[in-house]
Symmetry: C2
Subunit: 395 residues, 2 copies
């Protein structure tokens, strides 16, 4: 694996590396981990210098990292994260924002920015990230790599920093569907047979996408039709994607403050742009709004479970547009975030698994197509993603 890091994906300083602990499905592969997973002997910065300063160096390695080492992979380093994983652009003012290798004038996406950039640049074969509100899916779409947000609870987050525990998941990135599946064979629970379909074209997410993005994904949808049949149009959110985002936001903000508020209040850490504001909003979250969000989530899960029960798979644009340019204003970033998180909230609220495939470009910048299945169908979903990648002659 290359040792240079022109895209600034890795944490600065000496690289945290570990040799494999065994042999298996991941023999010969190198991986990186987002710097919110503990590796014994190394600091876990969580993207913020005050977090690093106020927490001991990790004494233990996260079990998910040990599983990868046991299966033959070698750790090549720790990658940058948005501070406390609370942001979607991938910006980190303390350790420098990673470069988007396929669109250097644009954000890499976050919060798992370094992991996506390291994979896109070919520095590692795969990389671990975490996804609460889109933090694997969005950088996968923006950086033009495969990424999975597994079903909630499918992969252990022991030894990883939390943000919104009822949404937090451990996902990963790779440049090929085959490597995505290999990692899944190590980390994911066993499950029943495949996903017979049908393919559901979730209307709201397509309408929400910029027309150029929807057009660019057309060939991939045709390829999906060739292998899985004509898609059926469905409404997944008659109440509107903004309502989904709002319910997600209220539940997640309350959990973020419950998880990290004591530290924020006691430490008064320095934060980069936007992060302090998000924690201030989290602190003020009305408990009645969060309770209403949880009530909505319960009803939404029943609805989605019914829709996906027979093995159906939803398909829609991972992000409504390619990565925003680095020059975009904070207000512009907020507009993109709101449009994006209405879509990512579908799998977030539903606890569903979602795979983003790097199938297209808009204005030369990557955009991903997402396949989304019922909770617990992660392996079958990765198989379907591999079949689609093969049909499209992707790696």
């Amino acid at each position: 694996m290359p040792q240079n890091d022109d895209v600034k994906a890795f944490m600065p300083g000496e690289r945290v590396t570990l040799a494999p602990l065994g042999t298996g499905a991941l023999d010969g592969l190198h991986f990186a981990v987002k710097d919110l997973f503990d590796v014994a002997g190394a600091p876990t910065t969580y993207g913020n210098p005050d977090w690093a300063r106020t927490h001991p160096v990790a004494a233990a390695t996260a079990p998910v990292v040990l599983d990868l080492l046991e299966a033959g992979a070698a750790l090549a380093g720790k990658t940058k994260t948005v501070e406390l994983a609370y942001g979607l652009t991938g910006e980190n003012v303390w350790y420098e924002t990673p470069v988007n290798p396929h669109a250097p004038d644009r954000f890499p996406g976050g919060s798992s920015c370094g992991s996506a950039a390291a994979v896109a640049a070919g520095l590692v074969d795969f990389a671990l990230g975490s996804d609460t509100g889109g933090s694997v899916r969005i950088p996968a779409s923006y950086c033009g790599v495969f990424g999975i947000r597994p079903s909630w609870g499918a992969v252990s987050l022991a030894g990883a920093c939390g943000l919104g525990p009822s949404f937090d998941t451990c996902g990963w990135f790779a440049r090929s569907a085959a490597v995505m599946e290999k990692v899944g064979s190590v980390l994911l629970p066993a499950e029943g047979p495949g996903l017979p379909g049908p393919i559901l074209k979730a209307e709201e997410a397509w309408i929400n996408a910029e027309p150029a993005t929807a057009r660019a994904l057309g060939p991939a949808m045709s390829a999906l039709e060739a292998i899985a049949g004509a898609p059926m149009r469905v409404e997944v959110a008659p109440e509107g994607l903004p309502a989904l985002y709002e319910h997600f936001r209220c539940v997640q903000a309350q959990e973020a403050w419950a998880t990290l508020g004591s530290w924020v209040a006691a430490t008064a850490p320095r934060f980069g742009p936007g992060v302090a504001e998000r924690f201030a909003a989290a602190r003020e979250m009305d408990p009645a709004k969060a309770a209403a969000g949880r009530a909505f989530r319960r009803a939404f899960r029943l609805r989605i479970a019914t829709m996906l029960a027979g093995g159906a798979v939803m398909a829609y644009p991972t992000s409504p547009c390619a990565a925003p340019k680095l020059s975009v204003s904070l207000a512009g970033q907020n507009t993109v975030r709101e449009a994006t998180m209405g879509v990512t909230a579908i799998a977030g609220l539903g606890g569903l698994c979602e795979v983003s495939l790097p199938v297209a470009k808009v204005d030369g910048a990557p955009v991903g197509l997402s396949l989304v299945a019922a909770a617990g169908r992660d392996r079958a979903l990765l198989r379907l993603a591999a079949a689609l990648a093969s049909e499209l002659s992707l790696p």
Copy 2:
């Protein structure tokens, strides 16, 4: 509610109380929370003075506590926990072990010892606990109250201290099945219709129980047969309960060190009897053994899911015996723990929901009968428990 605390269930010092935030299903009820759930403005001791000393006072209240307040309940105080929730007897040498109200010469069971004791003594209507390896089920059995370990992931643990994240659950205790259901109506996800049965008598757990315990549970099994039909005998663990316990122990120990090891290593805290030894073992856990434990868990979940798919419910003794006497040696405690955790590992490894009902006594001390269902069937399981309680004329 009585203000005295003869059973020493509550944390010493000024009681942490909160008025309801709204009205709903829990109007008029008082509850307590195990002192590993955050309540804003109060310390979270996690049962250990060095934990309290090295962590800031909570700035936020755990969402699960807010949900109960929103639904009309009033918080009456924080209850004692075994240090870092890592123990089953209920002993706490720093804050004094709570008294088992129905068997004062015996342990209360842990780690949610204070919550079980507070409910058993009538100090509150219900109380929150957490259950990783039996920490709600065992004190429920020992103290003679209802207790539920919900399906893994069903209730948010945001704002609660973790021990083994892939096993940790948020459960509760009450003296009546009706209150158990009311709390469930607030905290549990919506779900489909009931559990049609059959009842499965899990052979190994009955053979593992002391004969007096198995005999004492006979009338409750007859009552269960009267409402749900004759039980079928099944083998749930042909590899033996000790194998289940061993796999559980390896996975959980690795997660415990991943979750708490950095703090233990940096702080070198004082620990009561047994706790330091458990963390030392956790630190030394062989990653290959933990990986094998996770592989076993995957296969076990598929097997159990098949067994319970049609709405079947397993029934077996919650604990193989009544609470050990306070005078029992550490070696004697270890023997009981091993026999106990082979049984509690069934729901633990399976991610299942389990309700313990206070149906019998042995030598004057309580023992519980457990009903165990597939993940996600918590509400239906509580309904079945209520039907059985009614058949037995329990509250």
